[in-house]
């Protein structure tokens, strides 16, 4: 029986839930931000043989350093292969990537994601908020063996229909993907900081599958902007273990992913992040 943690934050819990989606040995295409933290955590705990790939073309780096981006030097540190972007994405389209991990500003009941524009009272050409765009997310959603969506539970994010489909889930129904020739299996879960949703392949719709301890089903329903389907057997999400929380805290010592550490980061802290990882590498 693992020792469970009794002292962790919601963002730390969120990272653990993402990490658990990865099975050992899988090839993982992790997107920028919290997905990368989940992938790093998985590799350092239950999935040491997983191969993390990132958009720049870095395949399978091995590192104690924290990824500061999908083209950070860490992406090629002790990598199996330093390759090209188009070759890596072609490998994904060709079926070699088992699981993708992406986020988005909006998600809807089909698992479609929007990272392009929030229309507000305007439209795509004159949106209320212009977001970064697809990056590699559309490609991951289209072709990864399956993909998981990581996003905090928030009614502003969980909308009836995304304004703009950047990354396709089931699109508009159970045959949305097949009629568009999308090779990947589609979304397999939405991981949030309070609940986990899965997808019913028969309808293409997300349903509530698990809730965090202390979170009620009603609270989840109140934070989802569509008529949410709920499993007849909603279970409690397994608590994070002491080890998992320790590793998250080591990986994100300055709380860049799991807190507001970004706003307080100094050049000295930044160098220290590297030097601490170097001490680990020395293995004294």
């Amino acid at each position: 029986m693992p020792k469970y943690s009794t002292d962790y934050s919601l963002p730390e819990f969120f990272a653990v839930c993402s990490a658990r989606q990865i099975e050992d040995g899988e090839v993982v295409f992790a997107g920028i931000g919290s997905p990368l933290l989940g992938a790093m955590l998985a590799k350092q705990t239950h999935a040491p043989n997983c191969i993390i790939v990132t958009e720049c073309g870095g395949i399978g780096p091995e590192t104690d350093r924290t990824f500061l981006g999908i083209g950070d030097n860490v992406c090629v540190e002790n990598a199996i292969s330093n390759n090209s972007l188009w070759r890596l994405f072609a490998d994904q389209q060709g079926g070699f990537i088992d699981i993708g991990m992406i986020g988005g500003a909006q998600v809807d009941k089909w698992g479609n994601l929007n990272s392009t524009a929030i229309f507000g009272d305007g439209d795509y050409y004159s949106p209320k908020t212009r977001l970064p765009g697809s990056g590699g997310a559309n490609d991951i959603a289209s072709s990864a063996g399956r993909f998981i969506i990581t996003t905090p539970l928030d009614k502003r994010r969980f909308v009836e229909r995304v304004d703009y489909i950047t990354s396709p889930g089931y699109i508009d129904g159970p045959d949305g993907r097949t009629k568009n020739g999308l090779p990947g299996g589609g979304p397999s879960a939405i991981i949030t900081n309070k609940a986990i949703f899965k997808f019913d392949k028969a309808t293409g719709e997300a349903y509530l599958d698990q809730v965090k301890s202390g979170v009620t089903i009603q609270e989840v329903i109140d934070n989802v902007g569509w008529d949410l389907k709920v499993s007849s057997n909603v279970t409690e999400i397994e608590e994070p273990t002491v080890e998992q929380i320790e590793v998250v805290r080591t990986l994100d010592e300055y709380k860049i992913f799991t807190g507001d550490g970004m706003s307080k980061l100094t050049f000295e802290n930044l160098l220290q992040m590297h030097y601490k990882a170097f001490e680990k590498k020395l293995n004294l």
């Binding site: 920028i32 720049c56 870095g58 981006g69 330093n82 765009g133």
Partner: protein, 308 residues
Amino acid sequence: MLNDYKKKPDKRMSLKEAVSTFMFDGCSVGFSGMGGAQVVAPVHEIIRQNIKDLTLMGDSPVEPGDLLTGMGLVKKMEIGWEAYALAGQAPNFRRSVEKSIPLKVEVEEYSNFTMGLRYLAQAMNVPYLPTRSLRGSDIPKYNSNIIETVDPYTNSPIALVPAANPDVCFVHANRADILGNAQFIGFSANGENLARAAKHCVITCEEIVTTDVIRSTGNLTIIPQYVVDAVVEVPYCCHPWNCPYAYAYDIVSHLDQLKTFKTREGFLQWIDEWVLGVPDHNGYLKKVGFEKLNELTRVEKKFCNAPY
């Protein structure tokens, strides 16, 4: 003739010369990099030379998309993504699209993979490439240059993306020789195809080496000399971004910049101080501080040290 540049025995130029020779008002331009290894120094030089009405092509061109848009030099972007990633969103890009400040840029959306396929298509001299990405999303809905069709062999749904042929590209490599053979020790992202897809290719590199160094490690030569028009040695070309096997990511500089870029006035003041207020890239590096740059190099060497 401009084509003769690819045959020159010594392609070295200054960055100032490379920008003024190959760029012109109204041209289309692409930059290499992905996440890191962004080609920043040429962007500053383009701003100094005030080259405008640009069509920017890129997968995820951070500084090119945000700084050039903020200066009103870009009229159109054909891109997959525009933001500073972990450091934050792209404030000038957002002001342009949301508020037309200083002017509204036209955005033609793709994804990172499909922009890469556009370059590959052009590099192979075919008019388009098919892909399984994009279908089912709204990307083709708002981009009529993406064709959704069925393939002629199996009749299954497919999308087509057109070849991309920018007038000029800037590709940053770890090292190159004076003939233009460009080597990458880390990732090359879409650099190998972008170089071939552009009419003129400018290679910037951390260091220029002799040709026997190239020949002893030919497997690292991602871009051979016959593709290349000019070579410019630009150490720390990517700062604040990382360059694999060279220097670490100075994310703190980005965070400071983005605080300033929150307002347009702040952005323009920063440009006055850090781009227009210095004569060239070396002036920018002096201002960043060579001690800081040395720290970024020193720390990176502890993890990524190539045996060649």
